[in-house]
């Protein structure tokens, strides 16, 4: 339980922090590993004699059929097309109900979860593992999203650089004049204007340099003016009265 709380706290903190998140997640992963092993151990200790668990282990078909139970699918919002009432009912009857009804000897008492504490422990483990799996899934998606975003940014930067090079028509960077009158490489600079909006500053080329880039820069923008057609002048009906 303590370990579970630790992991929960780490997830919370990692969702708030922007830096060192990976380090925190690494710690969380170590804790998850320990937590999982501990849960599995508890479950194995409890289920050694349990009829329910042993049946599930020995009959993979039952486990598969239980996953097709429409009610279970409904709880977890899975694809309802996977549901098969017949398969689910038949599996339960074959592997559980008939086995018990037709058995000559009654089931031993320790084949059931007799202690309320054991029942509570199992429900808690189930609930905690499920909660954690949802958190892991969220974090995994977030990590993928972050990586894709980084990849996209890198690709965009690379593309812009390549485009610049192709426009210049040379493999060497075109010498440009910086604000102090010197020369600097043609890098697109990003600056924060203070209100969080990034501005792109492109260094100007030398006044006497003739290049395709300069030609493009000096070209006037010829965009067609928007024309107003008669139907655009008609007022639109109000959506809400």
């Amino acid at each position: 339980v303590n370990l579970n709380m630790w992991v929960r706290e780490l997830f919370k903190i990692s969702s708030i922090l922007t830096s060192n998140r990976d380090d925190l997640l690494e710690v969380a992963e170590t804790l998850l590993k320990r937590y999982f092993q501990e849960c599995k151990q508890k479950f194995n200790d409890l289920s050694m004699n349990l009829f329910s668990v042993q049946t599930l282990i020995q009959s993979p078909a039952l486990y598969a059929a239980l996953k097709k139970d429409p009610s279970w699918i409904k709880i977890y919002g899975y694809d309802r097309r996977l549901a098969s009432t017949e398969e689910f009912k038949n599996a339960l009857e074959t592997y559980v109900d008939k086995v018990l009804i037709e058995s000559i000897n009654p089931l031993k008492r320790d084949a059931l979860l007799n202690k309320p504490t054991d029942l509570i422990l199992l429900t808690n483990i189930h609930d905690s593992l499920e909660w954690l799996s949802v958190q892991i899934n969220t974090i995994s998606h977030w990590k993928y999203y972050k990586e894709i975003k980084e990849l996209a940014t890198n690709w965009k930067d690379g593309f812009l650089k390549k485009k610049r090079k192709s426009i210049d028509g040379a493999s060497t960077p075109m010498p440009v004049e910086d604000s102090n009158g010197g020369e600097s490489s043609p890098i697109i600079k990003f600056s924060d204007s203070g209100d969080g909006i990034q501005q792109i500053t492109i260094p100007l080329p030398k006044k006497d340099a003739i290049s395709p880039w300069a030609k493009i820069r000096d070209q006037p923008i010829e965009a067609p003016l928007p024309s107003i057609t008669p139907w655009q002048q008609v007022s639109f009906p109000k959506i809400h009265d």
């Binding site: 992963e29 999982f36 668990v53 996953k67 009804i101 309320p116 954690l132 799996s133 993928y144």
Partner: protein, 203 residues
């Protein structure tokens, strides 16, 4: 050396699967345990004598044990699980108990029933029905079927065959079990099961 974020991803998605699998396994185990619990209590029927010397006011002892057991586990589920999950774990128990009360007949050690014995089973089914209806949404018809089934034991052989023609509520195996059990108005007959099969096939 610090782990790459892609490595963490692989680790994390592995844990997602492991956690999900164990969590699901526990949940299914709880469902099967609830069913096993019911069937274990029902097992007492196999060893009960239904040729009772007198009318009993109370239902069978195992029913009160079963009811108490179900109430206890329901209270734990209600406290520690969301309602949807708790309902899921109890879902189908009404049908399971009623069907099992019918299908257990050929497994009974005592093959002779008198009026008191039949009434005792009917009382037991009513007691379970009342308790279960407080715990989970269920069909009362399932337990009415149990009472109708054990009422068949009150019929004579002729009346029973008439019933085979009329009723479709029970299957051939269930009718066979009735014929193989001695009722207050009917003795066992060797030819009766054959007549039943003939009647059933001509239906």
């Amino acid at each position: 050396m610090a782990m790459k974020s892609s490595d963490i991803n692989i680790g994390m998605s592995n844990y997602f699967q492991l956690f999900q699998d164990l969590s699901t396994k526990i949940f299914f185990a709880l469902k099967i345990d609830a069913r096993t619990r019911c069937l274990t209590h029902l097992d007492a029927m196999k060893y009960t004598n239904y040729f009772c010397p007198e009318e009993s006011i109370e239902p069978e002892k195992w029913t009160s044990k079963l009811n108490l057991d179900l109430e206890n586990i329901q209270s734990v589920y209600k406290k520690y699980l969301p309602k949807t999950k708790s309902d899921y774990l109890f879902e189908g128990l009404g049908l399971l108990i009623s069907e099992s009360m019918i299908n257990i007949l050929p497994k009974l050690r005592c093959k002779i029933f008198n009026h008191h014995g039949i009434n005792l089973i009917k009382k037991s089914s009513l007691a379970i029905q009342q308790n279960l209806s407080d715990l989970v949404p269920m069909k009362e018809l399932d337990f009415t079927k149990v009472r109708n089934y054990y009422d068949l034991l009150l019929l004579t052989e002729k009346e029973l065959f008439q019933n085979v023609n009329d009723k479709t509520e029970f299957n051939l195996a269930q009718f066979k079990s009735i014929l193989n059990t001695e009722g207050p108005n009917r003795a066992l007959s060797l030819s009766a099961p054959l007549t039943l099969v003939e009647l059933w096939s001509s239906k």
